[in-house]
């Protein structure tokens, strides 16, 4: 493992071109007319040029992170969006077709409430289940994995998730604690130990819950496919098509929790590093599989615990970056373009994160200094960002314009830049979002200046 994922594969370049052409083609998208198809391809080309750093795009693409904003925009509550897929579609359609950002932010994070209800997810509180109908879902911080369990995770990640983690985070899946260990099942005496746990009544109940959750998930997926078709069919390519996370965040967000993982850097340093390594292949495979299905090139990777302030530079280099870099290399080797959304600021580690193959990733920043980023990471990677949320929520259109102008004049020079926001734009004033999009489409034209 130590030696794997250190260098990109020889076919990375070819695979990337193939994936770009699949994305560009948009096969299966029900385009409204030839103009819509042309607009879609034009927008994919803007992003492709920005990503590959080979030539300046015609203009800077504007791809804000919609977050939960479309619901606010259309006057749909979070509860409705999570339980009524038609309301979800209406909101997403209204936001994209009215404001015309350059990319479609698929509502993949507006997860179906009924699936959460059926499985009784403990990780989050959601509308009608801990928070009011109008509020967004929120993560419930806790230690869902104990520090003493690192070795279980390292020994067999799948068994750890099935036997220990799922029973804790899904009320309906407690019986999975008895799910059999799989590697021993390879000889005739092990057939019964494999099958027997599934005869227990409570296990049958758990599997039934999974089947019900599966039915609902398929309904949601088909609704999402239809919503996506309607919006992409009007000329808006999706901004991402898959999801994965940095191994350190897998552990730090929802296994050990923030407090747990911060203490583990002192108390369980070796175990933490090894566990991160063990998670790399799964986190690569899930993004590759999702992008194969969506025909997209960019898996979305939100980065949480590696920001300035959350750990020292030394800790970043020791605990966070090695496994994240391997994840990046693994994805790039498959022809994918990791879309690394670095929440918080990364000013103190821009040199470290510049160690990525050129023209193969997007570094999307939140509070990072974009001038500094342009001089470092910007030499090897497309930058995205970073209109701040305080400005969009509490500022004026003129202030938004000034900020966007500075971004375009700085980070936008010579291409390699996608204008976006520092986070999901819920809470923003409509006139500010509109100004951001319209101003950048005009001022961000490269031929103009």
């Amino acid at each position: 493992m130590q030696q794997r994922f250190l260098e990109v594969s020889a076919e990375a370049e070819k695979k990337q071109e193939e994936r770009f052409s699949v994305w560009l083609k948009g096969e299966g998208i029900p385009f409204a007319d030839a103009d819509a198809a042309a607009a879609y391809r034009e927008r994919v080309s803007l992003m492709k040029d920005a990503i590959q750093l080979r030539q300046q795009p015609k203009r800077i693409p504007v791809c804000p992170s919609a977050g939960f904003y479309p619901m606010q925009y259309a006057g749909v509550t979070m509860y409705d969006a999570m339980y009524d897929y038609r309301a979800l579609g209406t909101a997403w359609e209204a936001y994209h077709l009215d404001l015309e950002p350059d990319a479609y932010s698929a509502p993949t994070t507006i997860v179906p409430g009924r699936v959460l209800d059926i499985l009784d997810l403990k990780l989050y509180e959601w509308p009608g289940h801990g928070v009011s109908h109008e509020r967004e879902y929120q993560y419930v911080e806790a230690e869902y994995m104990k520090a003493e369990e690192y070795q279980d995770l390292i020994d067999d990640p799948t068994a750890f998730f099935l036997n220990l983690y799922f029973p804790r985070i899904f009320g309906a899946l407690k019986p999975l604690a008895a799910f059999p260990l799989l590697p021993p099942v390879n000889e005739i005496p092990m057939v019964v130990p494999l099958a027997a746990p599934f005869g227990a009544e409570n296990m049958k109940g758990a599997l039934e819950s999974l089947a019900k959750a599966g039915d609902e998930s398929l309904r949601w997926r088909s609704a999402l496919r239809e919503i996506g078709g309607r919006i992409m069919g009007r000329g808006f390519p999706s901004f991402a098509g898959g999801f994965t996370k940095a191994p350190f965040d897998v552990i730090g967000d929802s296994l050990r929790g923030t407090r747990g993982v911060m203490l583990d850097m002192f108390r369980y340093a070796d175990e933490l590093k090894e566990a991160c390594e063990r998670l790399i292949p799964s986190m690569i495979k899930c993004a590759v599989a999702a992008c194969n299905v969506t025909g997209h090139i960019m898996p979305f990777i939100p980065l949480h615990k590696g920001a300035d302030g959350f750990m020292s530079r030394e800790q970043f280099k020791t605990f966070y970056w090695p496994s994240l870099r391997k994840l990046i290399i693994g994805l790039v080797s498959e022809g994918l373009v990791p879309q690394l959304f670095a929440e918080g600021a990364y000013n103190d580690r821009l040199d470290v994160i510049s160690d990525v193959p050129k023209g193969k990733v997007v570094w999307w920043f939140d509070r990072t200094d974009m001038k500094k980023a342009k001089e470092t990471v910007g030499r090897v990677a497309c930058l995205a960002g970073n209109v701040p949320l305080d400005l969009l929520c509490a500022g004026t259109p003129d202030e938004v314009k000034t900020h966007c102008r500075d971004l375009i004049d700085g980070a936008g020079v010579g291409g390699g830049f996608i204008l976006s926001t520092g986070a999901g734009i819920q809470g923003s004033k409509k006139e500010n979002v509109k100004t951001m999009i319209e101003f950048c489409k005009d001022y961000g034209r490269y031929g103009k200046r």
């Binding site: 929120q138 923030t258 949320l389």
Partner: protein, 210 residues
């Protein structure tokens, strides 16, 4: 003797620090003296945090070690000297937001710096802040929030405090997540703290002045 304990704490050497504290106790060092050296160590840790040498994990670890040593020593302290507290700070996460890690760090640092802190927890309605201010009579009120929805909750809380006629009795500081200087103006708070130590500094400044 206690210098080695201070050093171990400052260097984040948990096992060594606990060992040294135990030895000091066994060797007859006054429990209060040990606690005082812990405070000295926390002060140095705080300074390193401000200088950008230490970060949140170090504060968390320091808090853990302090908790462990206090648990070892507190039962041995016959009667607690009434410590001269610096001032009262009320703190909570505003309505709609259930995040508390940042807030908890601020609480830890305030307490380590001698403040009397009341933490009213997460997702607190404006009325809860008002009620707690009436009861606890703090000089400083801290509001925390991670999400953009906190902007309006902070604004409403400041308004509620104003309506209750308590605005002049407290100084209000906001912090956390996406909060910025701009949101200070938006919400009507007195200050924005970009990090935990900045919050402590503000509290010190405000409690000294009044």
């Amino acid at each position: 003797m206690t210098e080695a304990l201070v050093q171990a704490l400052v260097d984040m050497k948990e096992a060594e620090a606990l060992q040294r504290a135990k030895h000091l106790l066994a060797g007859g060092t006054e429990p209060l003296e040990i606690l005082e050296s812990c405070s000295r160590a926390m002060e140095i840790v705080g300074q390193r945090f401000e200088k950008g040498v230490y970060f949140l994990p170090h504060l968390m670890m320091a808090g853990e070690m302090l908790k462990e040593i206090s648990a070892m020593i507190k039962p041995l302290v016959q009667e607690q000297k009434a410590e001269a507290k610096k001032g009262r700070v009320l703190i909570g996460t505003v309505e709609g937001d259930i995040h508390d890690i940042g807030k908890n760090i601020v609480v830890f640092l305030l307490e380590a710096n001698g403040f009397e802190v009341r933490d009213i927890g997460i997702n607190q309605k404006p009325a809860k802040f008002v009620e707690a201010i009436k009861e606890f009579q703090p000089k400083v009120v801290g509001m925390s929030g991670l999400l953009t929805l906190a902007f309006d909750s902070m604004k409403k809380t400041v308004e509620a405090i104003k309506e209750a006629g308590l605005r002049e009795t407290v100084r209000i500081v906001i912090g956390g997540g996406v909060v910025t200087e701009k949101i200070k103006d938006y919400s009507g708070a007195d200050a924005y703290a970009p990090d935990a130590m900045a919050g402590v500094r503000l509290a010190k400044e405000w409690t000294q002045r009044r």
